[in-house]
Amino acid sequence: MPKFIPPTIVQKEPICALATPPGKGALAIVRLSGKNAYAIAKNITHESLLPRRAHYTAFYDANDGIIDQGLATYFQTPSSFTGEDVIEFHCHGNPLVAELLLKTLCCLGARLATPGEFSLRAFLNNKIDLAQAEAIADLINSTTEQAARTATRSLQGAFSERVNSVLTQLVQMRMHIEAHLDFPDEEIDRQQTTQLCKQLTLLEDFLDELLQQAKLGERLQTGATIAIAGKPNAGKSSLLNVLAQSDVAIVTEIPGTTRDPLSADIEIQGVAVRLIDTAGLRETKDIVEAKGIERAQQALAQADLILWLTDVSSDDSQAIPKEIDVNKVITVHNKIDLQEASSLNDNENIYISAKNHTGIDELIAQLALRLLGENVLSENGDTPFLARNRHVIALQNAQQHLRSAQQRLSSANELELAAEDLRIAQQNLGVITGAFTPDDLLGKIFSEFCIGK
C-alpha cells in the first residue's frame, strides 16, 4: 500500500468558530469550513458569493432578522486554509453579534469546531507543512486539556446534577420504549403510551428550565442586553445616564456601534450588560421617527430584559404594549420625586427618581436578581453554571428531539421513530456528560425487567 495520501480534498461536516480572540475588539471574524459551507453562507447572506471576493452584506438569522452588516469572503476548495470550502464573516467586534452568528450557523447545520480542528483539517488536506504536525498535536493536547479543565469546572455542582437528572429520566424512558420494541413477547410491566407522553411532557418542562438556567450561565460569559423602553419623555435617557454613571456600573465606550447610538456597556455582578435606550414608542407619521420606532421594536425583541419606564406624574395611559413580552419586563416607575405617596417595590415594579438617584440601587439589585437568579446571589448558593454556548446548543437540540418524540409517541405506529428521537436527544446530552452505549441501555432493561424465556 502506498503512503497515505488522500487522492482529493475530503470535505467533512461543516464546522464554525470564532477565529479572532474572544472579547471586544473592532472586528470579529467567524470562520466556517466544510461541506455545504457555501450553501450555509448563502442562507446567512442571501447572496451568491464569488470566490476570493469580499462582499459587503447583511448577515441574517434564521428568521431573516438582521444580525449585523459586514464582509463575507468565500474561499473555494481547494484554495483555502483548510482545503475545504471556507467562508469568513467579518462582523462588528461585539461578542453578542459573533455569538448570534455562530448560533445561526449551528441552526443551519454547522457545529462548533473542537480545539485545533481547523488546523487539523488543513493538515489532513495537505495544506500545512508536515513539520508542523508535532506542533498541531501539541495544540490539540493542550487545548483539550484546557477544555477538559474548563468542562470539569463548568460541570461541577448544580448544572451537572441537573443534566444528569434529565439524562436519568431520559434513559428511564428509553428503557421502557426499547423494551417495548425488543421484547414484545415478554411479560414486562408496560407503560402505556399516554403515560410515556405524560413523562415526556414533564421531561420537556424540566429540560426547558435547565435550558433557561444554562442560558443564564452562558450570559455570565457572554453578556446580556437590557433595553429601556417607554413613552416619550418618561425619562429613558436620564435613566441610561444614571445607570451608566452609578458607582456599581462601569462605563465603557463602545466602538463601532453605529446601530445603537444611545447605548452603554456596564457590568452588573460580573455580567457584561449592554444598555440600549430605545426611541419612545408611539404612533407617528414622521418617517424618520417611524424608522426609529421600528428599530426600537427590534431591540426590544432581542433584549434579555426590558425596563418599561413610566412617568408617575403623567395621567396618560402607560400600559405595556402588547408586542412586548411581559416576562422580560420590569416596570420602572420614574419621577417619584414629583409625588407624595410612596410605593413598595416588588419583582415587577421598581420606584425610582432618575433625577435624585433614588431607588437606583434597588433597581440594580433587581436587575442582578433577574439576570443571575437567586442561587447565584446568595453567598452559600451553587456555583453558577458556566454553561458554554455548545452546552446551550446541545440542550436546544435535545429539546427539539424531545418535542419530535412527543409527536411520534402519540401515534402508536411510530414508537421506533420516537425511540430514534430519544436516542438523538440523549446523544446531544452526551455531548455535555459523556458517552452512553447501547449496552448500557440493555443493562438497564435487564436489571429492571424480568426478560427471558
Binding site: K3, A133, L415, C450
Partner: protein, 630 residues
C-alpha cells in the same frame, strides 16, 4: 505428506449453524471445501429451543438469506408456526419468527450441504491443528488423518471444555448427549489466545401427551403465514401448529426457593457468566421476587414427536426438584420430563483477539465463528459462519477481507461489537444495539446486501436474477410514483374526504400522498385512475416503507456519511501506538490491545476520546503506513 485428495482450500470444523453457513458460502464461492464434523447426523441440529428468528435475530437471518445463505430457506421448510413480531409497530422493528420442526429443519440443511458443489463432508473429531510459523496449514483428526488447507474455520460451539451441571452433579460433555472436544480445547488453550468461560442453560423437555392443553392459552401462527426467505414461498411450509402459554405460580416459586442451595449457580459450583436476557428460573425467582408468576412458552419440537420445549424455565436444579416445580404449573400437573434441564459451562475465546474478518490475530488463516466467540443463538452463529467462510476463501485468493459496516448490516454491528468491545456474557442481537436501526430493516436486507454478495461470488445465480428484477421494479415504480400526479377530484371528492379527511386542493404526486401516514397502496389505488395491481406486493411494501420513513432515513444517512470518513481511514495492525507522542497511557494500552482496523473502530473503543482520534490522524499523515495484513 498428505495425499492430493486431502488438500482443500478451506476446511470448516463443525456442522452446526456457523459451520454449515461457512462451508456453504466457501463452496458457493468456488473454493474446494471440506466440512469435518464428529457426527454427520447432527449437521444443522438445533440444540437449544426449536425456533429460528425473533427480534434482532430475524434481521440476521434475512441478511444471511440476502447473501445466499440457507438458514431462512431451511426455516421455511421446517417452520411449523410463523409469526411476525411487532407487526403493529414500524417496519424497522418488525421481525419474523419460525417455530421449527427439528427434524425437518435439519433435513433441509443436510440436503443443502450434501448437494452443494465443491463441498465434501467427513465424519471424525478433530484433535489438532497444523500450524507453521503462526500460520495454519491443516488439521489432524482423532485417528491421525491429516487434511491440509490454507484457511481453517473453527466452529466448535459449546463443545470446547464443556461441563454440564444438574444439581450437584457435573460431568464433562458437549451439547446434549454429545462428547466434548477436550483434546482440541487443550490444544487451543496452548495458543496465545485469551480464553474465558460462559454458561447457558436449557429447560427440561416434556412429553406433550402428559400436558393438559385444555387449561392453556393457545397461540396460533399468523395468517397469512409469513415467509422467511426472499426466495421462499408458502408452498414450502409444512403443516402448521400452535404454541401454548402457561405460567409458574407461587407454589412453583416456593419449591424453587426451598431447593436453591442445590442449584450449582447458587452454591458456587458455577461462577461463569450467564446471559442477562435468558436467566434461569432460579434467577428469575430470586431477582424478581415480587412477581407471582413467570410466563412459560410451550414450543412444539416437531410434527413427528410429542416432545415440547417449555421456554422460560431453564434450570440446573436437581432432577427431583425440576419434576416437582414443573408439576406445580397449570397444565403440567402430570407432566413427564423426557430430558432434564441443565446448565452448561464452556470455553470461549475473547473475540477481541479476532480481526473483523473473524481471522484470529495470532494464527494466520485460522478463523473462528459462532459460540466459540462468545455469542449465543443460531442466527448469530450462522451470520459469523457466513462472514468467516467468505473471508476464508478471500484469504486463499489473497483478497482483502469483506466485513459489512455498522450501517450496512446487523452482521456488521455484531462483528464490530465483538472485536471492539468483547463480551462478558453470551452476546445476543437486539435491535437496540444498532444505531442505524431505521436503515437496517429485515424488509430491505436484500437491497442492502445482495449486490455485494453477488460481487463476492456467494449469491446463487437464480437469486441474483430474482433480486435484480425486484430492484428494477422498485426503481421503475418509484419513478412512476414521483412523476405521476393525482388531480383533485380524480376519483371524486368523497373518496378524498374519506381517505384524507379533506378534499385535495391541488395536484399531488403519488409519492407525496404515499408519504402520509394514512395512505397505503390500497388507498392510493382508490384515489387514482392508475392501475397498481401488477406491482408485486414485496415491491409495494418497500415503496411504502421508503416513502414513510424518508425523513428519518435521510437523517440516518447523513449520520452515516459523517462517520464514513473515519471508516475509510485504515489503521495498520502493526502500528506501534506506544511510540505516538501525546497519547495518554490509557489510550495507548487500549489501542495496543484492540489494534483497531479503522479510525472509526478506534473511536468506538470505550475510553478513546476525540482528541486521541485527532492525534492518530496527525500521526498517520506524518508517517508512512504499512500494508494491512490480509
Amino acid at each position: 505428506m498428505t495425499s492430493k485428495d486431502q488438500q482443500y482450500d478451506v476446511i470448516v470444523i463443525g456442522g452446526g449453524h456457523a459451520g454449515t453457513e461457512a462451508a456453504l458460502a466457501a463452496a458457493r464461492m468456488g473454493a474446494q471445501t471440506l466440512l469435518i464434523t464428529h457426527n454427520i447426523e447432527t449437521i444443522g441440529q438445533m440444540s437449544c429451543n426449536p425456533a429460528i428468528g425473533g427480534i434482532g435475530k430475524s434481521h440476521l437471518v434475512k441478511e444471511i438469506d440476502a447473501m445466499g445463505g440457507v438458514m431462512a430457506l431451511a426455516a421455511d421448510q421446517g417452520g411449523i408456526q410463523f409469526r411476525v413480531l411487532n407487526s403493529r409497530k414500524g417496519p424497522a422493528v418488525r421481525a419474523t419468527r419460525a417455530q421449527s420442526d427439528r427434524v425437518l429443519y435439519k433435513a433441509a440443511i443436510r440436503q443443502q450441504v450434501e448437494n452443494q458443489v465443491n463441498l465434501q463432508i467427513f465424519q471424525q473429531a478433530v484433535d489438532d491443528l497444523l500450524i507453521e510459523n503462526d500460520c495454519i496449514c491443516g488439521v489432524v483428526t482423532q485417528s491421525g488423518l491429516t487434511f491440509s488447507a490454507q484457511s481453517v474455520v473453527l466452529t466448535t460451539g459449546t463443545f470446547l471444555g464443556g461441563k454440564i451441571h444438574i444439581g450437584n452433579d457435573n460431568y464433562s460433555a458437549g451439547r446434549a448427549g454429545d462428547p466434548p472436544a477436550i483434546t482440541l480445547a487443550k490444544r487451543l488453550r496452548e495458543l496465545s489466545l485469551r480464553v474465558g468461560r460462559l454458561k447457558t442453560g436449557t429447560p427440561p423437555r416434556i412429553d406433550g401427551r402428559s400436558i393438559d392443553y385444555s387449561q392453556l392459552e393457545e397461540q396460533p401462527g399468523d395468517t397469512p403465514t409469513p415467509v422467511f426467505s426472499f426466495m421462499g414461498s408458502r408452498e414450502l411450509h409444512p403443516q402448521q401448529v400452535s404454541c401454548f402459554i402457561t405460567y409458574t405460580n407461587e407454589t412453583t416459586h416456593e419449591i424453587i426457593q426451598q431447593d436453591l442451595r442445590l442449584s450449582p449457580m447458587y452454591n458456587g459450583n458455577i461462577d461463569s457468566t450467564g446471559p442477562r436476557y435468558c436467566p434461569s428460573i432460579e434467577d428469575k425467582v430470586t431477582r424478581f421476587a415480587e412477581r407471582n408468576q413467570h410466563q412459560i412458552f410451550i414450543e412444539p419440537e416437531g410434527l413427528q414427536t410429542h416432545e415440547v420445549y417449555p421456554n422460560g424455565i431453564s434450570t440446573s436444579l436437581p432432577f427431583e426438584t425440576q419434576q416437582k416445580f414443573v408439576r406445580s404449573v397449570k397444565g403440567f400437573e402430570n407432566a413427564h420430563i423426557t430430558r432434564p434441564g441443565y446448565a452448561i459451562e464452556y470455553d470461549y475465546f475473547d473475540p477481541r483477539d479476532l480481526q473483523p474478518s473473524l481471522e484470529t490475530k495470532a494464527i494466520q488463516g485460522l478463523f473462528f465463528a459462532g459460540q466459540i466467540n462468545g455469542t449465543t443463538g443460531y442466527e448469530e452463529a450462522a451470520a459469523q459462519g457466513l462472514v468467516a467462510g467468505i473471508n476464508a476463501v478471500r484469504r486463499t485468493q489473497e483478497q482483502d477481507a469483506w466485513v459489512p459496516r455498522r450501517d450496512q448490516a446487523y452482521i456488521g454491528v455484531m462483528i464490530d461489537d465483538l472485536v471492539t468491545s468483547g463480551t462478558i456474557e453470551p452476546y445476543r442481537m437486539f435491535t437496540s444495539r444498532a444505531e442505524f436501526r431505521l436503515l437496517l430493516r429485515q424488509d430491505n436486507a436484500d437491497l442492502r446486501l445482495s449486490e455485494m454478495a453477488n460481487e463476492l461470488g456467494c449469491l446463487p445465480a437464480k437469486q441474483w436474477q430474482a433480486f435484480s428484477e425486484k430492484r428494477e421494479a422498485l426503481e421503475t415504480q418509484q419513478q412512476r410514483l414521483k412523476s405521476c400526479f393525482v388531480q383533485p377530484g380524480e376519483m371524486g371528492a368523497e373518496v378524498e374526504e374519506k381517505i384524507l379527511g379533506k378534499k385535495l386542493k391541488h395536484e399531488y404526486s403519488m409519492y407525496e400522498l404515499l408519504r402520509r401516514p394514512e395512505v397505503d397502496f390500497e388507498k392510493l389505488q382508490q384515489l387514482s385512475k392508475q392501475d397498481f395491481s401488477s406491482i408485486p406486493s414485496t415491491v409495494k411494501e418497500q415503496l411504502e416503507i421508503q416513502a414513510k420513513y424518508a425523513g428519518y432515513i435521510e437523517r440516518q444517512n447523513l449520520e452515516v456519511e459523517k462517520l464514513s470518513h473515519q471508516e475509510e481511514v485504515k489503521l495498520s495492525p502493526d502500528m506501534n501506538y506506544a511510540a505516538i507522542n501525546g497519547l495518554s497511557n490509557e489510550a495507548k494500552q487500549k489501542l495496543m490491545e484492540i489494534k483497531p482496523h479503522t479510525i472509526g473502530q478506534a473511536a468506538r473503543i470505550s475510553g478513546i476520546t476525540p482528541s486521541t482520534i485527532s492525534l492518530l490522524l496527525v500521526h498517520l499523515k506524518s508517517k508512512p503506513v504499512q500494508k494491512i495484513a490480509s
